[in-house]
């Protein structure tokens, strides 16, 4: 066991856990933040995506000791509050993206990261830059929403 210090969504916490445990289980079962999902367990589907020190990480395959003393942002921390949505979430609502919604936290975290790296992505940039899996088939709306989110962010018209 190892004491892991992490700051999750601006809250500093310490957890006594197996250092090899995937970060996903710390987020979900120890910190009780359930928005980050399990889909595959081998970094294939992206349902577990979160930001660790600003990097996009598939937390199901990221040993928790690597997150020690780092800042983690999960879907619950993407927006400051429901009245001030991140442009990605705003666009997701506007375009009505989710169906079952299970993979959408991961997609939104990947999309938010994409916009950090590339503030004005083309459709091709989005198609090649995000490799998460959705089974309901929300793909066309995800692409549309990311293009919209980029506009919202660049125009500063987020609420």
């Amino acid at each position: 066991m190892m004491k892991i210090n992490v700051t999750i969504n601006d809250v500093a916490s310490a957890f006594d856990v197996d250092p090899d445990m995937p970060l996903l289980w710390l987020i979900r079962d120890e910190a009780k933040l359930k928005g980050t999902k399990f889909g595959c367990g081998m970094a294939q589907c992206g349902a577990c995506s979160a930001h660790v020190d600003g990097e996009l990480v598939r937390t199901c395959s990221y040993p928790v000791h690597l997150a020690h003393e780092k800042k983690i942002t999960t879907i619950e921390g993407l927006s400051a509050n429901p009245n001030h949505l991140h442009p990605i979430q705003q666009a997701w609502l506007e375009v009505q993206v989710p169906q079952c919604g299970y993979c959408q936290s991961g997609f939104m975290m990947a999309a938010a990261h994409l916009l950090e790296e590339n503030s004005n992505p083309t459709e091709e940039d989005i198609k090649n830059g995000i490799t998460n899996i959705c089974r309901c088939g929300t793909h066309p709306r995800i692409i549309k929403a990311i293009l919209l989110a980029a506009k919202l962010k660049n125009n500063g018209t987020t609420n």
Partner: protein
């Protein structure tokens, strides 16, 4: 809470509802007491016209609804929200009759102890179709019941009371629904009033934002996996990795001596552990040494051999005219195959079981609450009255959660640990120990006369079962699963001579429902073959299809849909030689769905450029929800048509995760246009129908581009094989 107390003993409008739903599958099964082939065939033809009902008999408004203090009304849904948008559709139906803004309606899943129950699974695209009238009736009855209560409280006749925006008024008197509910001690349930005509709808039929999305974009929606109750521990289970295998020996010493492990349970065919964390439970499972008895060297080849026309039990599903005699010369024969497929729902199977003495509470993601409750009663000592099932949002359904579940394992682990246990399947178990869409084989014979008319067509197909997984008694009676796996097997065109037969064989692994059931495979075969016949006749594939739409109402709707698809979908628009264009259509439980696909081949890979979908699903409750479903079905169909294939080698499913089970990703997204044919028919399904025309439309477009006729799915693998075989 202003929860009304005196519940009436009887539900209302039950007879009316049953009368409307007509014969049910359960009813037709009851007719069966022996399985001779002519009886099976008769039942098969009867079953073709059966409308699936919602499997709900209790329409007591007090069971369905709760009037809350903040003047919102909670609707307890007997159907599960798995992404198809039923919560929003149901809220719209209720709001229309309740005279309440839709924002004031909350929808939650009914648990077995709190709300109306459905004996049928959520699926078959029938939730909105089957509850379109009943939900409005139960909502209208609640409205009239509230008026009745106000009329008594105020001493005014009910005819003088109006409702609007959640407020009751009579002259100067005024009270919110919540105020009336709060002061009413004894309820008199009103008679079900006449429903509002579609012409006066204010909510139904208008695009409505989904009510479940705000919590879904915040990461706050609760799925089965998110269940977290005090004292909860984590389970993990070891299942047999071999198809049809059984547990021979198990050495659990390491697990039993592992200080992190709290319980070890060895059952007939699985071994489970309970630990404080999932990671510890999974590590302990990895340390168990087990041996298994299984048939060695079983492979996909064996499954294909078993599922071949001519093998097993056969049932004639359709026999009009005399196809055998008509197919005497100049016959075109083609054979098609579809592979086994996984659902790959993003949320694996999940159950949290909380056993306490003789009762158990179960939190789970399921499409079939009633089936889980019954299987618990069958396989454990918890009788239905002692088990409470709390369904959650599903991380995808697609048929995966209709029958097979891990509730029994979770219950036994919770019983052993004396604590609630969270049991989540791994992705590998989802694939290797779930159930697969069965592979299929189709042989079609057809004949076109000199005038370009199809004189006869015969469709013989072989498939594993889909529905028998949940109905063990049905198998010996029915012989073949013509209801689910055989769905879509009949040739839906006006042709004088046609015959359809299904062949069924046993497979040593579980096969089950998959989105669209048999319609997916059968439409691939039939609509590819219709294209082959059109080409043989030298006809345009769209014109050819329209020329074989007869005079029945459904075929006329098909013709009009094809016309719209052709005109607005760019069928005759000039295109370059590098683009292939194909078309296909299907009808699925009264919904007509057709698609045009445009594609190109880039470096030997199929690239879908554009899919135009046209759908006629009767009256649309939420048009934007319908568009969402059509787009989603299109993407899932592209995935299944181009890439997905489950295979077996050395008695194991080869695919263990997404690295070797390819699915469509963002890069595979074409332009998708949705055309809706407006109609005032009763609403019919939308979740499944648009899926089925996609595979044949792709295959037909590939032929159009290359002259290569690919007759097996997945099409990318079929194209790869073609290139390999021809050295091109």
């Amino acid at each position: 809470m202003a929860q009304p107390t005196d519940k009436p003993k009887k539900g209302f409008s039950r007879r009316k509802f049953l009368a409307r739903s007509g014969a049910t599958i359960a009813g037709s099964l009851a007719l069966l007491y022996f399985g001779r082939s002519n009886i099976r065939s008769g039942i098969s033809q009867l079953a073709a016209d059966v409308k699936f009902d919602a499997g709900i008999t209790d329409f007591d408004p007090m069971l369905w609804f709760e009037v809350n203090e903040d003047n919102t009304i909670t609707l307890r849904s007997p159907k599960i929200e798995m992404g198809q948008g039923v919560f929003t559709g149901f809220a719209m139906l209720a709001a229309e009759e309740l005279d309440l803004p839709i924002d004031n309606i909350k929808v939650v899943h009914a648990s077995t102890s709190t709300g109306p129950q459905s004996t049928a699974a959520t699926g078959l695209s029938n939730s909105t179709a089957s509850l379109y009238t009943p939900i409005r009736e139960v909502a209208a009855t609640l409205r009239e019941t509230l008026k009745l209560a106000a009329s008594k409280a105020w001493g005014v006749p009910i005819s003088g009371i109006q409702t609007a925006n959640g407020v009751l008024t009579a002259g100067s008197r005024r009270a919110s629904y919540a105020e009336i509910a709060g002061q009413t001690q004894t309820w008199e349930i009103a008679k079900t009033p006449a429903l509002r005509p579609a012409s006066s709808f204010k909510i139904i039929g208008k695009a409505q934002k989904r009510i479940d999305l705000p919590e879904k974009i915040m990461g706050e929606a609760v799925y089965g996996i998110d269940t977290d109750i005090p004292g909860m521990l984590y389970g993990a289970v070891l299942y047999c990795p071999y198809v049809g295998g059984v547990l021979k020996t198990a050495d659990t010493t390491l697990a039993r001596t592992n200080p992190a492990v709290l319980s070890v349970v060895q059952d007939k065919n699985w071994i489970g552990v309970v630990a404080k964390t999932r990671f510890a439970a999974e590590k302990a499972i990895a340390g168990i040494k087990a041996t298994w008895d299984f048939e060695p060297n079983y492979s996909t080849k064996d499954a294909i051999e078993a599922i071949t026309v001519g093998n097993g039990v056969t049932v004639v599903m359709e026999d009009e005219g005399n196809a055998t005699d008509a197919l005497n010369s100049d016959v075109l024969t083609s054979e098609y195959r579809t592979p086994m497929g996984f659902h790959a729902s993003m949320e694996p199977s999940i159950v949290v079981a909380d056993v306490s003495g003789e009762t158990v509470k179960l939190y789970t993601s399921t499409q079939n609450v009633a089936f889980i409750q019954q299987s618990i009663a069958d396989q454990t000592h918890f009788k239905p009255e002692n088990s409470q099932i709390m369904p959650a949002f599903l991380g995808g359904g697609f048929g995966r959660r209709a029958f097979k579940h891990n509730a029994i394992e979770a219950i036994k682990l919770s019983e052993a640990a004396g604590k609630p246990v969270h049991l989540l399947s791994t992705r590998q178990q989802e694939f290797q120990n779930g159930h697969v869409r069965p592979n299929t084989h189709h042989r079609l014979n057809g004949k076109v006369d000199a005038k370009g008319k199809i004189q006869a067509i015969q469709h013989e197909f072989a498939t594993g079962s889909m529905a028998f997984l949940g109905m063990p008694v049905a198998k010996p009676l029915l012989g073949a699963d013509f209801m689910a796996a055989g769905h879509g097997g009949r040739v839906p065109y006006a042709i004088p001579n046609k015959k359809t037969s299904i062949w069924s064989s046993d497979l040593p692994f579980q096969t089950g429902l998959w989105r669209g059931v048999g319609m997916f495979a059968n439409t691939f075969a039939i609509e590819s073959f219709i294209d082959e016949l059109a080409i043989k006749a030298g006809a345009d594939p769209l014109t050819f299809r329209m020329a074989h739409c007869g005079n029945t109402a459904l075929l006329q709707r098909r013709k009009k849909l094809l016309q719209k698809l052709g005109e607005q979908g760019g069928w005759r628009k000039p295109k370059t030689d590098t683009i292939g264009r194909g078309i296909a259509v299907c009808e699925d439980h009264d919904t007509i769905s057709g698609a045009i696909v445009e594609l190109e081949i880039v470096e030997k890979k199929i690239k879908i450029l554009r899919v135009v979908q046209a759908i006629d699903a009767g009256l649309l409750v939420n048009p934007d929800g319908v568009r969402q479903q059509v787009e989603g079905a299109t993407m899932m169909a592209i995935s299944a048509s181009l890439y997905e294939e489950a295979t077996i080698e050395n008695s194991q499913f080869v695919q263990t995760n997404f690295h070797n089970y390819q699915v469509a990703k963002l890069k595979d997204t074409p332009q998708i246009d949705v055309l809706i044919r407006e109609s005032t028919e009763m609403p019919s399904g939308v979740g499944e129908p648009p899926l089925s025309p996609v595979a044949p439309a792709i295959a037909n477009a590939l032929y159009n581009l290359t002259g290569i006729r690919l007759r097996s799915l997945p099409l990318q693998a079929a194209l790869d094989s073609y290139y390999q075989e021809t050295g091109s």
